[in-house]
Assembly symmetry: C2
Homo-oligomer: 411 residues x 2
Amino acid sequence: MQKKNISLDEAKKIIGENVAPIQRTEILKIKDLIKFNVFADRVLTTDVISSINVPPFDKSAMDGYAVKFEDTQNSSLENPVELKLSGSVFAGQTQTGKNKTTLKEIKSGECIYVTTGSILPINANAVVKIEDTKRDGNNVKIFKSPKLLENIGKEGEDIQKGNVLLRKGEILTPAKIGVLAALGVKETEVYSIPKVAIIGTGNEIIDIDKNLTPGKIYDINSYALAAVIKKAGCIPVRPKIAKDKEEILQKQLEEALQYDAVVISGGSSVGEKDLLSKVVESNGKILFHGVNIKPGKPTLFGNVNGKPVFGMPGNPASCLMNAYVFLLPALRKMAHISFERKIVKAKMSEKLRSNSDRHLFVTVKLENGYAKVVYKTSGAITSMSGADGFIEIPITKQVIEKDEGVEVNLF
Amino acid sequence: MQKKNISLDEAKKIIGENVAPIQRTEILKIKDLIKFNVFADRVLTTDVISSINVPPFDKSAMDGYAVKFEDTQNSSLENPVELKLSGSVFAGQTQTGKNKTTLKEIKSGECIYVTTGSILPINANAVVKIEDTKRDGNNVKIFKSPKLLENIGKEGEDIQKGNVLLRKGEILTPAKIGVLAALGVKETEVYSIPKVAIIGTGNEIIDIDKNLTPGKIYDINSYALAAVIKKAGCIPVRPKIAKDKEEILQKQLEEALQYDAVVISGGSSVGEKDLLSKVVESNGKILFHGVNIKPGKPTLFGNVNGKPVFGMPGNPASCLMNAYVFLLPALRKMAHISFERKIVKAKMSEKLRSNSDRHLFVTVKLENGYAKVVYKTSGAITSMSGADGFIEIPITKQVIEKDEGVEVNLF
């Protein structure tokens, strides 16, 4: 049943119940992930289990000398133990001969020079930092007794083979990308990024590449919506502007339904030309039409072929405010990315009366801890562009006093 | 003069003094800006001044009837004024005849049907919402007296020609992109996105597309660094891994210097093979080498040909932690984007001893308001990947008690 003029909370609830994380997946190359033009926030569809130990061998964590711990007890600056330098292993160096790994071996009374990351010689069980030694020809003076296993990175110390390292649903942060690289993972399965079609309606709307003729205005909403869709971690897909004709909107909607969600701006007011509700209704279901908020009252939300359809008001400030209130959290959910509003506390710079029986969103600018109203009209994009965020005034509240504490939702 | 083992604050100060917002600019097409694979955070190099009024004409803000305000005084449900319907203007409709705009005109006692966004007929000075009217053939009953200019969007109400709307240095948010669209701006000048070259050093390091042979480990740092560079709003450029040889590192650095900054991981520890400081010094200037922090002590920062060069430790956790502490804020500054750490308060889940005379960064996971240590070793990428953020323990503090309040810097 189509609901009319519902409360903000009910609208949020209905959207929440009718928007689901998308299940389409794709294979992502780790090398692509760090390209600048590939979206950063990708979400794993499966756990990542380590196929190797990291480090894959015992290694030196320092530049210095690998020793047998037993040989170096009671070393001190005054009474250094002296060991025979029997060789060196540099980081990355091990393979000697064809397909054969020969590890150097320490005998009692000997040490081997190692660098940070070197594979550890056989029998070595400590590394003495170079700063605590002095080389004298083929001998090395040890000025400090290492602890057992000191300065050694044990095989598997970071990651053990078979461990679950990353889990389904986790976002690939820099550190998690690092984990994939550590394992030599070349590609991994991630959820596809939701694609969101944008339709701007209105015979008066023209795209920015056209010349402005009398009675026409430039399409603001498609650009602002596309930017919000990107902010949500989704891909904006932009079909042409739909003229106010049922057949045209019908055709645009059909095309748009190949994507994961559809956002339509304009055409949802009550009046002779309310095409949007007609078209959504004849193709699917309107879940609500009209929310008791200001701006944004004529908002429509429906479901066509299992795809959420957001009908935003045509007024630019209403449309963009609605995009922050309804669309952004919904798209984050579709993209498997958690959503949290960034809120800062401020004081109201002037007395503010609600004068409305609707839940109000008022855009404000932050100045020295004060929230200053920048809202003009719902038709004005500058009601939004000069603002840092918005405050909410619930229906039950009539007045915010000067200096009263408010919470500002940052854009 | 090269500084050694300086404090965290001094290191931050030196970096701050030697990293500047880049001045290279480029022309950005607004249509490109909303493409999914184009970076969102672009910064204006100049003020944007409006060349038009928005709306460009007086328009109706509602579906309803445009009237002469004077004709409709004292209308009520009981005593409606009745007006003659003399025509209609739909949104987008005005041009009649060749290159000629004919606006409809209201005479006394008449009204004209208008839709939201319609250009206002001549002489109209109010619009009555359709809900407050009833049409009866060619007559319209007006049930409510409008106020003067009610439901009219005046020309220039949103934006006035000649106004400075956006300012140099502002980031193009969705609303500001909307402003550019409102003006029909097709392209604008923005600062170029800083390109940051990454060099991974170490003979033991191999890229993820290679097979792991004994003594080798996969390159973790280049991937984690690239992800942080993207997070900073910059473009990672990834040259090959440099072997530990002066000529090779020299060549890699030369190539890297065509970009705006260089990040090198590994090769900055003290020891026989400390090539990085040698190479940086012979090409430019080391500004510091060694910071009194843990992890991340061997960090190096220099300047070569006017480009900042960050020498990160080779240990993955040290490298990535340093990237968050030093690199991310520096790159944001280069990209003209403000940087603010996201901090949440938590309680320490266990007693934590510093045992160090260095400023400590300890990675933690947040669980029910508690910060739980996940830090293992500076060599372990899992010291970072399982963490939500990090806490800092200054040199002057030795112990954090269980349940003590801490501030967690979120990644």
